[in-house]
Subunit: 142 residues, 2 copies
DNA sequence: CAGTCTAATGAAAATGATTCTCAATGTCAA
DNA sequence: TTGACATTGAGAATCATTTTCATTAGACTG
């Protein structure tokens, strides 16, 4: 993962700096769906000198390198999750507690392609988000 | 549609003002997927005194009243479309020309419910967007 | 009709996430 | 060593949207 990032940087004539490495390591230490600001705060604890501009820049680099996937849920933040390269998944989001469940459904995926083809589209990407209340929040309620 | 809006306002102890009526009429005169700024510009031509704050405020009211649906596609704008109340649909978006096709697929919808149930979720809302290249843009390319 | 109360308006300032600018610093190759 | 760039961090800038606030308009009361 880090190697992939380093390879991308080299290929682009960019350098793997201490700042970039720490930001990348911090990012990979998270489960996913992290905002640049969250990464920034975590990084701050280990290296208070690192600025948020560098954090934002590095998150973008990670995304360009293909090791981070950019997600935009409804809140005003851009979020990133480690891209395991092979796995695609969609999200079930609890609007009460924010808990996110990842899922993948091949039948939905293939129906999407069917629908797109029917309209003459070649799909390059898609976003499927289901919003609702998770079981935990529902039992807590009643 | 306008009546529904007026009813909502009355119920909330708010008034139907000339500004609100013009903004609402302008909004309903569009096909959909309009940003507040676009509405503002159209309204400007008929009533240059109306400010954008009022436009933004009214769009939010229309949304709260249930006659406008708020959509957030990837561009930095909040977009609204008339809510015909009965119709749900998803979107196919051309990343080249911005053309949007609306579609509905019952099989996808029901599979979504199945997936959610499997994870103990009660779904209240969902967002499905397919991004790709429309046929027109594809033929233009090669 | 006044008079009063409150919602509504519009101009301008504020917000907040993200990006940009720029001067200072680091790295590497010749 | 010396350029030539890439990198950094601080702060300014951006940009859609929201908030503030002084002023106006409407509805209601008497
Ligand atoms: Mn995920
Ligand atoms: Mn639509
Ligand atoms: Zn929950
Ligand atoms: Zn197109």
């Amino acid at each position: 993962m880090l190697d992939t990032f380093e390879g991308y940087l080299r290929r682009k004539g960019l350098r793997m700096t201490p700042q970039r490495e720490l930001i990348a390591r911090t990012f990979f230490g998270n489960k996913g769906h992290v905002s640049a600001e969250e990464i920034y705060k975590q990084v701050q604890k280990q290296a208070p000198r690192i600025g948020f501009a560098t954090t934002y820049r590095t998150m973008k680099l990670l995304s360009e390198a293909g090791v981070a996937s950019l997600r935009s849920f409804g809140d005003g933040f851009s979020r990133y999750e480690p891209a395991l390269r092979t796995d695609h998944h969609d999200h079930l989001i609890c609007t009460q507690c924010g808990h996110i469940i990842e899922f993948e459904d091949d039948r939905i995926e293939s129906l999407q392609k069917t629908v797109a083809r029917k309209h003459g589209f070649r799909v390059t990407d898609h976003k499927l988000e289901l919003y609702g209340i998770c079981s935990k929040c529902r039992t807590r309620k009643r």
